[in-house]
Amino acid sequence: MSALIRHDVSVSGRPDSPPIVFVHGFGCDKNMWRHVAPTFEQTHRVVLMDLMGAGGSDTSSYDEERYSSLEGYADDITQVVEELELQDAVLVGHSVSAMLVAMTQLAVPERVAGLVMVAPSPRYVDEPGYVGGFAEEDVEELLDSLASNYLGWSTAMAPAIMGNPERPELGDELTESFCRMDPAMARRFATATFRGDHRDLLPRISVPTLVLQCTDDVIAPVAVGEYVAQHVPRASLVMLEATGHCPNLSAPVPTTQAIADFVAGLDDEAA
């Protein structure tokens, strides 16, 4: 099956302009970018995709082993990049996808011109000499939390979140799948995300990289963003005055601006 269908890829903007690919993080789907991505349609070829299990992805090809580590998800992004034959692409990854786009950059360096890591963390669990912000048992608690919420979501929650008469502008396509995932898939993705250690990727990234760090993020604290910026060779760190882990939702304007500035800088560099 085409990766473009499997990941419900949408392509908009200017077909002959440099491509920019937005990849959502764990939890929701490509709708996370709806306040950010449209701006780039004036200047870029804009690609949006759903990771396996999320949103409109086709789970008929789901493979437990493939999706038990982040490499499987990253390979999906790589396949999308290759199938679209993107050149000089900027890959924007939110949360766990910051590591996924890094893996894609390493897999197809000739196709990628820059990375944007929004609220990244290469390692969520603390270790001697490293502060990720969480203990091993916190991850267990998250998995329990997912289980108890998905239990409700599989039945009672479904009608409750269908339709949103108060904000019709959100559109119907959002309501049914947004933030919903098969419980077993969600658990596997969460385990790969929150138990993994991807710090060794950082020094190998060979393109200019923008690290967008929220000032008040309970998942990826400032120290982690700084760690990422220090270990990626060509990184720049931009702090966003934003609360929470999703500046693409809570602070879309400065987020968009920071990405636009970074992309403009890349173009200058190329010129």
Partner: protein
């Protein structure tokens, strides 16, 4: 809710008048659910007495905290990855299960409903959160979840067991027999998760001397599997001393009758001995469709052979038929999953099978088997209603 982001108090007092401030405070503070409001960034602005009491915290302390500070670390991740985006995008989130931390570190399991309030310009102005004690419900849910996981594990275990059993009973490919072209196919009924009763086996009795068995144990599941294994290995064991199919079938019949199972079985046995210019075949059947013979220079026909079922009649006797298979001749053994396959146009039937092998490919046993299997499956729209086993023996022309 009709356009208002936050619920409004109804004029529900007896007199029909608006609430006075004291009543409103009581309604807020003494509500049988926890209630708090935060600013758009999650800092707590107001909290009712019920929630403060549940959490053993003072309302004054709580207004210096963010909502996420009340959550467990794992809950915070869930909040950031699901709850907050949902609230931002939908304007509300309902029945979110989280644990809140009391001042002593202990946990209160709650369900949370939240709605986003917006200012006139549409920007978020605050968050209203209602909190329901869900201790009992959540422990019940946890039990339910554990039971579901146990059920899933045990189902997966059963499936693996069935598949493993199946694999031991059905050899994936028959062994290579010198100067004889042997091909076989097996398709379990339905989704293949249940152990079926069809089996086949090809084994050597000595130099240029082979035994071919194909059979069908009635029924499905573990008991059928036990009988399948019993028959298959009984044939192998007895064939050491008894090589004539009719005598072998008699002994298998005795064995089955002695076995506690009341399952019965049909089978066809073919003993093959290499002779100048081909193979001599002795064939015995027990309640089983007789093999089809496709001579190189003649129309396909079914061998004229009958014999009682195995495991039903005491002292049953069987007869062998002897034929010679020369170059270009093919013999097809099959189970009734082929002829009793039913589709929109009725049963597949013997005539259709004969017509099909007659008009189909000849020469290679694999082509014969593939042709029959493909057409029988197509006849049933791709899903076999009964197990199908096929085995073809062809004598090469060169």
């Amino acid at each position: 809710m009709s356009g208002e982001p936050a619920p409004r108090w109804h004029r529900a007092t007896g007199s029909g008048d608006a609430l006075d401030p004291a009543e409103a405070d009581d309604l807020f503070d003494l509500a049988p659910c926890g209630y708090l409001t935060t600013d758009p960034d999650g800092w707590i602005v107001r909290v009712n007495a019920t929630l403060a009491h549940w959490l053993d915290r003072s309302a004054a302390d709580m207004v210096r905290m963010r909502f996420v500070d009340l959550l467990t670390p794992g809950g915070r991740i869930f909040h950031e990855t699901h709850f907050a985006p949902l609230l931002r995008m939908h304007g509300e989130a309902r029945e979110i299960a989280v644990d809140l931390r009391r001042s002593d570190g202990s946990r209160l399991s709650v369900l949370v409903n939240a709605s986003l309030a917006r200012a006139a310009d549409g920007s978020p102005s605050g968050i209203h959160i209602a909190v329901f004690d869900a201790t009992e419900r959540r422990s019940y849910e946890r039990e339910l979840l554990a039971a579901k996981e146990r059920a899933e594990t045990s189902e997966a275990h059963a499936r693996t067991l069935a598949r493993t059993l199946q694999q031991t009973l059905i050899p994936p490919t028959p062994p290579a027999v010198p100067d004889l072209d042997v091909a076989a196919a097996y398709r379990p009924a339905g989704d293949g998760t249940e152990v079926g009763g069809d089996f086949y086996d090809v084994f050597s009795l000595g130099q240029d001397d082979w035994m071919v068995v194909l059979g069908d144990v009635r029924g499905k599941g573990p008991e059928a599997a036990v009988v399948t294994a019993l028959v298959r290995y009984t044939v192998r064991a007895l064939a050491v001393a008894t090589r004539r199919p009719c005598l072998l079938l008699e002994q298998v019949n005795d064995t089955l009758l002695q076995h506690s199972s009341d399952r019965f079985c049909t089978a066809v046995l073919v003993r093959l001995r290499r002779r100048e210019g081909g193979w001599r075949a002795e064939i015995g059947v027990a309640g089983h469709p007789a093999p089809l013979l496709m001579r190189a220079d003649d129309r396909a026909r079914q061998l004229d052979l009958l014999g009682p079922l195995l495991g039903v009649i005491e002292d049953a006797t069987y007869t062998d038929r002897e034929i010679f298979l020369g170059p270009g001749d093919t013999m097809l053994l099959y189970t009734d999953g082929v002829t009793e396959a039913s589709g929109p146009s009725g049963f597949f039937g013997d005539d259709r099978l004969l017509a099909m092998v007659d008009s189909g490919p000849t020469g290679s046993s694999a082509e014969v088997v593939d042709n029959v299997l493909t057409q029988v499956l197509a006849f049933q729209s791709g899903v076999a209603r009964d197990d199908i086993a096929l085995l073809a023996l062809a004598v090469p022309t060169t």
